[in-house]
């Protein structure tokens, strides 16, 4: 969506800066290229490939947590990997979001009985969107990202509503 196409050339738009920033943020959700298991093939590699092409909605991978907005936790998190997940999350700049992709990242999945497996990545980092499936199809991941965009949109609306109520 280009603003000049929407409103015509030479037009002037009045918008709150935080709403503009949130609009920009939700249309450039760069995810961290960090895959743990088989979900990474569907959610990270297939997502950036030509068939599903998440680029067109601004979702693209970054190799460094310093440049990433979203972390897709794609795979089983065991107790040793949990330290790395936490470290990478801490290295990402604010604002940041986490997508728990697949059964393993959401609840432990088929490996939940093994004592070394963390029962869901939400025990380590706060999760915004859960995507069910084992592994989920890239369409599901795309839908998850649309939900995340909606959430970011709602967040800016909720912030301004909270300010209105304070006055």
């Amino acid at each position: 969506m280009a603003l000049d196409k929407l409103m015509g050339e030479h037009s002037v738009a009045f918008v709150k800066s935080e709403q503009l920033f949130d609009w920009a943020r939700r249309n450039s959700l760069w995810y961290l290229a960090f895959g743990i298991a088989c979900c990474a093939i569907e959610g990270l590699m297939h997502a950036s490939g030509p068939r599903f092409d998440f680029d067109r909605m601004g979702v693209f991978f970054r190799a460094s947590p310093r440049q990433a907005d979203v972390m897709i936790v794609a795979g089983t998190v065991n107790r040793k990997m949990a330290e790395t997940v936490k470290l990478l999350y801490d290295q990402m700049p604010e604002p940041k979001w986490v997508v728990a992709m697949g059964a393993c990242a959401s609840t432990g999945g088929p490996f939940r009985e093994y004592p070394n497996v963390v029962l869901g990545v939400d025990k380590i980092v706060p999760v915004d969107v859960y995507i069910p499936g084992c592994p989920p199809r890239p369409e599901s991941v795309q839908y998850g990202f649309i939900q995340l965009q909606e959430k970011i949109k709602r967040q800016s609306e909720e912030r301004s509503a909270a300010r209105r109520n304070r006055r």
Partner: protein, 151 residues
């Protein structure tokens, strides 16, 4: 393919208490744990030409930990299984001087069966964090249904 039992027996004549037998697994050699390194070196240098350690496995038999060295001869297309037993909390002597491919599986086996590694250049844990119980022992319970539900 099965290696010739008599040749294996002759090769291991220096190792006392070496028992050679054929089971559904293949030709299995049982040796005392202390002789593992010398027995493997003899098998590698012999005419059987076992130049490759495919894998190093651990098994909890319920009474002790059984270590299996899976050897392969690429020139003769033959497999041999060398087994030794260690007590729980026993010491696993490294065979990396004979087979360098033992370096990683030895670390894994030691941490998952609660053994101590000796003679290893880097006897650190491989897959788990410190203070993890030996996960592949029978005595370590898996999570119950209730624990999983109340996550």
């Amino acid at each position: 393919m099965l290696p010739d039992e008599t040749v294996v027996r002759t090769t291991l004549s220096g190792v006392t208490q070496a028992e050679v037998s054929t089971s559904t697994l293949g030709v299995v050699v049982r040796i005392p744990a202390d002789d593992a390194s010398s027995a493997l070196a003899a098998l590698k240098a012999s005419s059987l030409d076992f130049i490759m350690l495919v894998d190093l496995l651990g098994t909890d038999t319920g009474e002790e930990v059984e270590i299996t060295y899976h050897l392969r001869s690429l020139t003769r297309d033959e497999d041999l299984y060398v087994k030794c037993v260690l007590p729980y909390e026993g010491v696993l002597h490294s065979v990396w001087n004979v087979y360098a491919s033992a370096l990683l599986p030895e670390r894994e086996t030691a941490e998952l069966f609660g053994l101590t590694l000796a003679g290893h250049p880097n006897p650190a844990r491989l897959l788990t964090v410190d203070d993890t119980e030996p996960l592949l022992r029978r005595s370590v319970a898996i999570r119950t249904l209730e624990e999983v539900r109340d996550r």
